[in-house]
Amino acid sequence: MQVKTIVLAAVLSVGPSLLHAQFDFRVDNRDVQVHSFASQGFMYSNDNNYMTMPTSQGSFAMTDGGVNASVQLTDKFRVGAQEYLRDFGRMGEWHPQLDWGFADYRFRDWFGVRGGKVKTELGLFNNTQDNDSLHTFALLPQSVYPTDLRDATIAHIGGDAYGNIPIKHLGSLSYTVFVGDRRDSKFGGYSLMVQDRGITISNYGGLQYGGDLKWTTPLKGLLVGGSHLSEVVTGTGKTTCNQAKASVNCAMWTAMTNGNYEEYSKKAYSNYFFGEYTLGNLRVDSEYRRYWRDQAVWNGLWAVWSDTRGYYASAAYRISKRFELGGYYSRFTCKWVSGGIGPNGPATKPPSLDTSLPGNHIYDKVATLRFDIAKFWNIKVEGHFMDGYGTNQSPDGFYDTTNTQGYKPKTNLLLVRTGWSF
């Protein structure tokens, strides 16, 4: 276990007894609120290694945390920022990043604007997926919220318009429309996936725009909604073009590009549909996500088309002040086609459209027990029973370089995670 992990875990174990509340201070007669959160996890799997960690031997390489400060400057105007870092196997690698930082002006309850780096409102949990304390589950359903693809959706540098509109006798609508630039970390799942093919991405991102609409219905406890995200993404980097892993003829490609790699979107979008029902201590959630990606890779010589669909249904019940039980069924499938572009392009590979193949799906059955040791401190014990290992066209938790022995069709995983928030 890394020294950093041990030190952070020790500090976070002692910290809760000393810091049991948020930290506020005043500047120029205004309250500045400071909040923080952190989590530490342990994973153990029976065969396949998961999330770039050596989980088949047990791994503690699952740590994250963040701290924010915000202030309400006037009744309508607030500013704030949050810094975040994580180390999930080879992802994150402790590199801190600005998680969000923006100015927010609320003209009316039905219309406000935000500008800066803003968490993206998609689905029920996209913008809160990093905060362990906010969720019953130690790992959100990966069919809809893949943690290794976090960078793709977590935030945009740009702006939002948002508001809440009451509809007499029909509940209320909460809307967000956004536009901005997505900028992936070099330590995210997609960069790691293509690294396995000898490509080192130095820059990945581009334009994102879309919206989210949530309807709090007149039926008490029921919320439904939908979200859409469109994007135009470009990636650049370098490769030495290993012919065993490359999709193109390396000699021809290197002569054309001198090792400078580029890929770009031809069409890419995601649609989400979701619903949540709460009744007392019971909460039921369900979401569906479709991610369509048509990408030109290898400097336009090769194309990859993938249709990724995921959905889950979950239930959680707080059985007492300190204990919560939960479970979900998550289903991820991916169909893909790849092939050469143009008359001089290399031969097309056979399409992979059969989602019954273990390499084209992950079906995950999960059971969780959450114990709230204190209001600011929880621990979760979670079991995952996975069928399939996904696809090499989209990061999905299973990576070739940490599974050099090949994949077994099923993975059972134990996840224990403790989290704090102040």
């Binding site: 948020q22 309250d31 609120q33 909040h35 959160f37 963040g66 924010n68 915000s70 309400q72 009744d75 309508k76 607030r78 704030g80 920022a81 949050q82 969000w100 930082g101 923006f102 927010d104 609320r106 309850d109 803003v118 968490k119 913008n127 809160t128 990093d130 905060n131 304390s133 906010l134 809440n164 009451p166 209320s172 909460s174 008490k220 406890g221 709460t278 007392g280 201590n281 909460r283 707080r318 002040k321 709230d372 209001k375 928030s421």
Partner: protein, 141 residues
């Protein structure tokens, strides 16, 4: 023996009554600068879930909560439709996405009344029997 049974039942009922409250046992109070004298249930919910920052009359408002106890639990259940755990999760989701702040939270009725009295726009709740000197009571419609 029969008297003992009656005594025990009365004691249990008394304890239960002491630790639970209903909407009828709660007063919603506001700083005197708040223009409205009444508020709809939907408006009140919006204020405490941070989707509304002003009432229909244009008064800017901000919520003040009690930390815990039967009045707090009854208010959260009856007017916000949530459990305390769910409400705390909701506020934290606003804080950790930058879309809101943790509301002021105070330990007891007297502290809530004192804070609401001195803070322009503050809206809170106390037990029906609490002294409300210096604040106004809002009728919830």
């Amino acid at each position: 023996m029969k008297n003992l049974q009656i005594f025990l039942i009365a004691t249990v009922v008394g304890i239960c009554a002491a630790v639970t409250a209903s909407a009828g046992d709660i007063k919603v109070i506001a700083n005197p600068a708040v223009g409205a004298s009444s508020v709809s249930a939907d408006e009140l919910k919006g204020v405490f879930l941070a989707t509304k920052t002003s009432l229909r009359d244009g008064s800017h408002v901000e919520p003040v909560l009690e930390k815990d106890g039967p009045v707090h639990e009854a208010f959260v259940k009856e007017y916000l439709g949530k459990t305390d755990a769910a409400l705390q999760t909701y506020y934290r989701s606003l804080v950790f996405t930058g879309k809101g702040s943790m509301p002021k939270t105070l330990a007891a009725d007297a502290e809530v009344v004192a804070y609401v009295a001195k803070t322009k726009g503050a809206v809170g709740y106390v037990s029906a029997g609490a002294s409300t000197a210096g604040v106004k009571t809002l009728e919830v419609k």
